[in-house]
């Protein structure tokens, strides 16, 4: 009877979400390159310290030497090996940035969905809160907080950075939920009595997954910038080595007068730039991976 509707030829595939993300990431060359770059830098920063010899003594006979076989990136102002410092410097900005971004995105998505779906008084209240948050200059707030609490731990920085980043994402999530909840498939879900929480988080949210992931990636970037920036300004306790601290120290030691000091400042800069590029291209790949329409192409 239904001969008119020829069934579409379909290959049978049943993949896990992780598998889909992986295919999406590896499908486009740019997305793949970005993923490789991000994974390489994360691996370098988290696995590297376990592999590289941590014994890196101060050596007054080796101050500011050029790159050589023994010291791949030369030595710094105390005669320590620059490469060893670089290996140890990536972990903190990455995990603090990731934590800040995760926090900001979770807060923005949960509050944004609630405000957009329920509207009314809770929406008005949250909107006021974002208005206030948006008017506070982010970097000034960070500087003030960091200066006030002198021995602030890295997770404290993550909270401060995260709390300034959620407001903008909250607004776009709210707007998207407001538009998506008028769609007919949401009404169809209501007719099935699926329950509000399920409708918001299982029916509406997946439609924004690509958008949320791309914003997460951007948030990681922003958070890393903010943290590195605080270190560069010398506002953070100089305990663990990290990219920002390296730039701060090279500035303190007048690297611009010393050509041999260039690797010490260029190496962290290059890491930050490469990590940013990697994240952005990976974000684009993720967007494709999580959108079933784009996934098919």
């Amino acid at each position: 009877m239904t001969a008119v509707e020829a069934p579409a030829p379909r290959r049978k595939f049943r993949e896990s979400t992780l598998g889909q993300i992986w295919t999406g990431l590896t499908r486009s060359p740019a997305g793949f390159a970005g993923t490789v770059l991000v994974l390489a830098i994360v691996g370098f920063s988290f696995i590297g310290p376990l592999v590289v010899d941590q014994h890196n003594p101060t050596d007054t006979s080796q101050i500011w030497t050029a790159p050589s076989g023994e010291h791949w990136l030369g030595t710094q102002y105390e005669g320590k090996d620059t490469f060893t410092i670089l290996v140890n410097s990536g972990a903190e900005p990455i995990w603090v940035g990731g934590m800040a971004a995760t926090m900001a995105v979770i807060v923005a998505v949960v509050l944004g969905s609630i405000a957009g779906y329920f509207r009314g008084r809770i929406d008005a209240l949250l909107l006021q809160l974002t208005d206030v948050t948006v008017t506070i200059p982010q970097f000034l707030l960070m500087i003030a907080v960091v200066a006030f609490f002198e021995d602030i731990p890295p997770w404290g920085v993550a909270i401060v950075v995260g709390s300034t980043m959620w407001a903008f994402l909250f607004r776009s999530i709210r707007a998207q939920v407001m538009s998506l909840k008028e769609r007919e498939f949401v009404e169809a879900a209501k007719l099935q009595h699926l329950g509000t929480a399920r409708i918001v988080f299982r029916e509406i949210l997946p439609n924004m997954a690509g958008f949320i992931f791309v914003n997460f990636v951007i948030a990681v970037n922003q958070a890393i910038y903010a943290i590195v920036g605080l270190y560069i300004l010398g506002l953070m306790p100089s305990g663990t080595p990290n990219w920002g601290l390296m730039i701060h120290l090279s500035w303190q030691n007048n690297f611009f007068l010393l050509p041999v000091a260039m690797p010490f400042v260029l190496a962290p800069l290059l890491m930050i730039v490469l990590f940013t590029i990697g994240l952005v291209t990976m974000g684009r790949g993720l967007d494709q991976a999580l959108n079933p329409r784009l996934r098919e192409r």
Binding site: E184, F185, P206
Partner: protein
């Protein structure tokens, strides 16, 4: 006919507040739908068909009047009864593209409600049930559709998935809001046949909304047709009667407007009734008396523009027209200006060849 109707609308009114003032999209509609029966709601765009259906489905709350499910008004229901109503009355949207979540597979769409209400346990059972639903709507073999996303399906296939999702709740009443209007004609017939089988085999009642009289005639031949005009039912009766021997001038005009491939019949139809105006009056400013009088070919000054006509029994059906009510004489009852074949194209096939 003493049994309680499945769904009963009484005095249903829906007023929307707009910037130009209140708009009565539906102004007092009384309808009844019985189990396994079809009630077809026809009328032109903007006459309140969809608004009526949405109120009947409990999506919107009517401004006044009552929706009763099995004799119990919606507003008086407790949580359990409301859940029962919610599951028993399902609504199929007009647009098969918008009504499916693009991020979910057919399997996930079909089983969300089942899982939520604990009707299936475990993945194997859920898949089996989903496959059974797909088979009910003629999407076979089900295995080739279960893991598809909506964008991989054609319009007809999507609408079948929509129907299957409604059937997952084991509904007693399906409200189809122009559910076939966006489909290709050939697919429309096969979907109508599928729906007809559900009606006959599962005893599902239908509130079927359409602007296509051919579809109404095909699907609701054993049921009833209610013709709506500007928020009111103007004629209501058994389908063969309404289509074969329309009484209200508006119904006559609607049937006269159906494309007739036979030029002789077309000419006869055209000469039969001509509307005085093609313009639909604004809902903001309804004409006094009968809302149809500015367009009505049978308009008689003094009769039609005074009072609002009520639905009255005229030769075995309800008609809201002053002229018909006045002329209702035994001799005029069998006046057949148009034949059963006035709506061409689709003819209900013989029962044995139906499926």
């Amino acid at each position: 006919m003493s049994e309680t109707p499945l769904l009963k609308l009484s005095g249903l009114e829906q007023v929307f507040d707009t910037r130009k003032g209140p708009v009565a999209a539906v102004g007092g509609v009384d309808l009844e739908i019985k189990a396994g029966k079809v009630l077809c709601l026809v009328g032109e765009s903007g006459c309140g068909k969809t608004t009526t259906a949405r109120a009947a489905a409990g999506i919107t709350r009517p401004t006044s009047g009552a929706v009763e499910f099995r004799g119990k008004p919606l507003t008086a229901m407790n949580a359990a009864e409301r859940t029962e109503y919610r599951r028993s009355v399902q609504y199929i949207h007009q647009d098969p593209y918008a009504a499916l979540n693009p991020t979910r597979t057919v399997y996930s769409t079909l089983t969300a409600g089942l899982k939520r209400h604990g009707l299936v346990k475990g993945r194997t059972e859920a898949r089996a049930k989903a496959a059974e639903l797909l088979r009910l709507v003629d999407l076979t073999p089900p295995e080739s559709y279960l893991d598809s996303y909506p964008h991989q399906l054609s319009g007809g296939q999507r609408q079948r998935v929509n129907v299957a999702r409604s059937l997952a709740m084991d509904p007693k009443l399906l409200i189809c809001d122009e559910s076939t209007s966006m489909l290709d004609v050939s697919i429309r017939v096969s979907l109508l046949n599928t729906l007809g089988r559900l009606r006959d085999e599962l005893d599902v009642g239908f509130l079927f909304i359409t602007h296509d009289l051919a579809v109404a005639k095909y699907f609701a031949w054993d049921g009833e047709i209610a013709v709506m005009y500007l928020g009111k039912v103007v004629e209501h009766g058994p389908t063969p009667e309404v289509i074969g021997n329309p009484q209200h001038p508006y119904t006559k005009a609607l049937i006269g407007a159906v494309c007739e491939p036979d030029p002789d019949l077309a000419k006869a139809n055209r000469s039969a009734e001509q509307l005085r105006s093609a313009e639909i009056p604004s809902l903001h400013d309804l004409p006094a008396g009968c809302a149809f009088h500015p367009r009505c070919p049978a308009f008689e000054p003094g009769v039609c523009d005074g009072e609002r006509p009520l639905l009255q029994l005229a030769s075995r059906r309800n008609v809201a027209c002053h002229v018909v009510a006045r002329d209702r004489a035994p001799a005029a009852a069998d006046d057949r200006t148009l034949t059963f074949d006035a709506v061409p194209g689709l003819r209900r096939p013989e029962p044995e060849s139906a499926i």
